[in-house]
């Protein structure tokens, strides 16, 4: 070996795990690193091989957990239920098994009442190859989620994966007690390509990535009030924000619904005529709105907190 080579250890340091990227991590890595070390217990793990019964029809490979991991663990010592979607398998889309696991978890949480649920979204929406089952799964999840919230369960959604949170996933997210989102996390019902296909490139240029992000991305959702908290893209910061939101998230009931009706109504009144996210940010009084997309997370959080306090009572 060359004299130039010094005798240094060249294995990656495990200390980097704290700064590990949420966006880059797999669903399993997110779950493992988010919860207290070693505390995760999976329900119907991959060794059970409960795969989708429908992908075979399309000659598509299955995944042993069908892209949904559910289980329990501890967060800062306190018990928590957790569900995580793998955004790279079938785009994190909801299928029959994938969705049913989350439904079951939420129904259990409703029964237990005292244990919060974390949902780590990473989804393009409904899985087309089993579209009816996926659509229905989303409806069942939404009902189970609201019933759990009625029973006092806090349901916190975390969004920052590759697939974003699209289609029915966006609707489920809208039912959560609280949402945290990173810059990469996008929340929307129709995807950019879908809008472009249906309405033309003049309506929405899906290749204009800056447009996609400022219309659907985490920063806009936070500034608009569609998400309660903005976080940087590390697993550690998602963990911190999850803890915070579990504590601060509201209950659920008529007051919350009325407050949400007012919140959304006010949004339409104020921003209905805005053609672009930039107009909304300016109307909200964001100083130097053009600088928002490039802003580092910490700076953005400070700006967002000044402009709009999270409204925990209206979701």
């Amino acid at each position: 070996m060359s004299a130039l080579l010094t005798e240094t250890e060249d294995k990656p340091q495990t200390a980097w795990d704290d700064a590990a990227s949420w966006y880059e991590a797999s669903a399993r890595q997110r779950v493992r690193s988010l919860l207290d070390a070693g505390s995760f217990k999976e329900f119907i793990g991959p060794e059970q091989r409960e795969v989708s019964p429908h992908l075979r029809v399309f000659e598509l490979p299955e995944q042993f957990d069908d892209g949904m991991i559910v289980g329990r663990g501890r967060l800062s010592g306190e018990p928590a239920f957790i569900a995580a979607q793998e955004g790279r398998f079938m785009g994190g889309a909801f299928g029959e098994v994938h969705g049913a696991k989350l439904t079951g978890l939420l129904r259990a949480a409703r029964y237990v009442k005292s244990i919060p649920v974390l949902i780590l979204f990473d989804t393009g929406g409904v899985r087309l190859q089993e579209a009816n089952a996926g659509e229905l799964a989303i409806a069942e999840i939404m009902r189970a989620l609201i019933e759990a919230r009625m029973a006092g369960v806090k349901v916190v959604g975390l969004i920052g994966g590759r697939a974003g949170c699209y289609g029915g996933g966006g609707l489920i997210a809208g039912c959560c007690s609280a949402l945290a989102v990173s810059e990469q996390g996008r929340i929307s019902v129709s995807g950019p390509e879908v809008i472009e296909t249906n309405r033309g490139v003049e309506e929405f240029d899906s290749k204009d990535r800056a447009l996609v992000w400022r219309t659907m991305g985490g920063k806009h959702r936070r500034l608009l009030g569609g998400a309660d908290a903005f976080t940087s893209d590390t697993i550690q910061s998602f963990r911190d924000i999850a803890l915070h939101l579990i504590r601060s998230a509201p209950g659920f009931g008529m007051d919350v619904l009325k407050a949400e009706q007012a919140r959304l109504g006010e949004r339409l009144e104020r921003f209905s005529s805005c053609a672009d996210a930039l107009d909304i940010w300016k109307a909200e009084g964001v100083p130097d709105a053009e600088a928002v997309p490039a802003m580092p997370a910490e700076d953005f959080i400070a700006v967002a907190n000044k402009v709009r306090e999270p409204r925990y009572d209206a979701r």
Binding site: E96, V97, G104, R107, N132, A137, A139, L171, S190, L268
Partner: protein, 241 residues
């Protein structure tokens, strides 16, 4: 059946339901006494932020007025409105809020009944018809998650191949029968019989607790695994740590 026929058959004594640019808002007296609040989407209208908030407002207003009458959700819609403006303003929240209001109403004892009498799709379907406790349809209703041409584009399979596959599995293909097999639609009403009677019969049935759609899908063979998976997760989650 046209919308007017449907409303006439549901509310024999008349009603005050108005079609406001594709949104149905109003109420009507039930055959067995009491009133049903009615919201809905007509004329295959796409559901955007402005539509969703009017519908949710109506549900909340009904709840504030009190009473224990059912809430009827009539649906002949497009999908969610696909536009830059709607997504910019947070369409997911508006649709979720509408669904939440309906689910909450049902939990407050206001039986929510969806009546699918035309088309519906995707996010609009979830936020309206699928957010009710009981979903029924009229013959000829056309629910779909995605149309076959779009699905063909995404799956890179020809429409012919998709149609062939649809024969063996109801799980992906559009259409009322397929949705019914997966458990989404409880029953298809008979057009020849008074809808008021059929509604009355439905409201009179004892309401089983909980969401029964996955069990229905299993019984009908359209969703072989969902009910069991949910139940197994439920049982595991309730076991002591």
């Amino acid at each position: 059946m046209t919308l007017d026929d449907i409303l006439a058959s549901l509310f024999l004594e008349g009603h005050d339901i108005r079609n406001n640019d594709g949104l149905l808002l109003g109420s009507g007296p039930l055959k067995g006494g009491g009133r049903a609040e009615v919201i809905g989407v007509a004329d295959r209208t796409a559901v955007g932020v402005d539509d969703a908030i009017r519908l949710s407002g109506q549900v909340l207003a009904a709840l504030e007025r009190g009473g224990d009458g059912p809430i009827l959700v009539l649906v002949d819609s497009d999908s969610q409105r696909m536009s830059k403006r709607d997504e910019l303003l947070g369409l997911n929240e508006f649709l979720a809020h509408l669904a939440k209001c309906l689910i909450y109403a049902d939990m407050q004892g206001r039986h929510t009944v969806g009546l699918l009498y035309g088309h519906t799709a995707a996010g609009a379907f979830i936020a309206t018809a699928l957010a009710t406790r009981t979903l029924v349809a009229l013959p000829g209703a056309e629910p779909e998650v995605m149309d076959l041409p779009s699905m063909s584009k995404v799956t890179k399979l020809s429409i012919e191949v998709l149609k062939e596959k649809a024969k063996s599995t109801p799980v992906f293909a559009p259409g009322l029968d397929n949705l019914a097999q997966t458990g989404a639609v409880l029953a298809t009403w008979d057009e020849k019989i008074s809808l008021a009677d059929q509604l009355q019969a439905l409201l009179g049935n004892d309401r089983q607790g909980g969401d029964q759609r996955d069990r229905l899908g299993k019984a009908r063979g359209g969703r072989p695994k969902a009910a069991d998976m949910a139940e197994r997760v439920y049982d595991l989650a309730l076991q002591p740590e």
